[in-house]
Amino acid sequence: MSTRGFSLAALPVARVPGVAIVLVVLCAGFGVTSPGFATPANIANILTQSTILLLLALPMTVIIMTEGLDLSIGAVLTFASIVLAVTVIATGSPTLAFLAALGVGLCFGLGNGVLIAVFDIPPFITTLGTLGIAQGLSLLVTDGQSVVGIPRSIEQIYSGTAAGIPFPIIIAALAYFITHALLYHTRFGTYVFALGGNREALRVAGISVRGMLIRVYVFGGLMAGFAALLMTARLNSAHPTAGIGMEFDAIAAVAVGGTSFERGNGWLLGTLLGVIAVGVLRNGLNLLAVPSSVQVACIGALVIVALFIDGMRAER
């Protein structure tokens, strides 16, 4: 196996990824039992469905690597999606609307970052608070209703294809490579490892820890804004409950992917695999027509099994 292109630092050496094992087992299992599973159309389907979660899980990986957390990301996505929809309906300009959604992401990211870095409130609590604020704003703006009447041009972003590849997959792949480049090939990424691993090292190197932390959460907010574009395009509407609970899905995908909550030990590719594993599991169980209650339990089992395998590896 060639490891060219991978930095050793990118792969947590102590753990052989449990997520890879889980993913292979799931794919093999579903491939054998469900004839519709291993078709190009279905694979495209799984990947497309996973894109929104991936857009949240990527920044979540970065945030968790700094020993932080962002519980507000799902609610920010929701609110950004509503602002996007309302703006595009009011002005008719998708560009303006998209900028507005990014603006919402930016504001919440900035808010989270400032509360965490400057006011010294722990990330869990900060983002639990801003989760409530974003959710409340969503409800207040919409009064609980869906926002509909969005021009078709927005929907195209989700349903369109280029060279036979669905747009969302292209966007998600782009987001992945951008995050990868950010994390492994820029100063920002280097300092993310340092934020989680040794903040004193950053201080001594003359880099502002506060500034970096704020940037990390702004990155999260902006990605939520991007995800809002996909979500709005997907639903062709905006709804105040659309993103509820997605933050926990994203955190679970990151954890399943082998990123640890301590010392800046993160693995971006693992997050990608984690997101796909969750998508494969849901899709495969649907294809097998497994009762929904059993599906619910299976998702829990997936999370625990993947971490259990990682834990066993780590102990050696």
Binding site: F30, T33, A41, N45, V148, R234, L235, I244, G245, N286
Partner: protein
Amino acid sequence: MKYLAISVTAVLTALFSGPAFADDETIAVFTKNQTNPYFQAVRVGTETAAKALGVKVIQYVPTKPDSIPEQLSQVEDVIVKKPNAIVFIPVDYKALVPAVEKINAAGIPVTNITDRSAGGNFVAFVGADDYSIGLSVARRLLKAIGGKGNVIILEGVKGSLTSTNRVRGFNDAMKENPDVKLLASQPANFQRLNALQVMENLMQSFPSIDGVLAANDPMAVGAIEALEGANRKALVIGINGSKEAVELIKSGKLLASGDFNGFIQGCIGTEIAVRNLHKQPTPKEVMLKPIVIDKTNFTPYEMPVEQRACPTLEQIVSN
């Protein structure tokens, strides 16, 4: 090595083999969640009808209750499986329009029940009119309190079609009775515990309450519990005609419940889907009559849904 591969495959097959699709016609049924008894009644209705009609139904329910993205994903997954027909309750009547369009594009006939989708092509819509049920059951309560007094409305989830229409019915009934005063109209999210606490709080502000209009049965029951807990008396109505509501009507604690018959909607939805598959003529729309269940007519509703038989389409339409 080869044997290993074979045995691994065997184990995996054993692990993953769920109920396989038979060769007969299959209908995919979409409901909103696994927790509300109403949707359970719908599912039982579809299964009862399917058994009678010799088809197979498969239930799809979001793992997270009422999740829009998840129902959309399930629709996409189901399109891969290509069932013969679909019976569809959208989690949100506006947000799921893209899902319906995808079903349309895949050429799978889809019957809409319960919540009328805001867009897409359907074989038919089967439902009950939330507005008129709300109106008639509220009229029943307002008559019982003598056309005057103080009333509280417990709304469902804000923005949901069901809640909006039912509450509109309540309010129109109130307009017919100018002597009735509306004290408060607060959402309790269709949930019992929420209704209980909202009611407890409202009772602090209002020493005299004569009637409670709840937009579904669990909220009505929550209100009854709150009233009993405070040793106060007020007439309460709910909507759905659930098993629990019928028992409470029998014991006199609940005045009435609007019959929003999920079981029949499930039956008829499935029957229309099957008829359409067999190229038989189907109506474009079936609306159940608004029936108010109260002390005078609750007896047929005491039978558990699992034991009921589906009425035929003709029975319902001719009614």
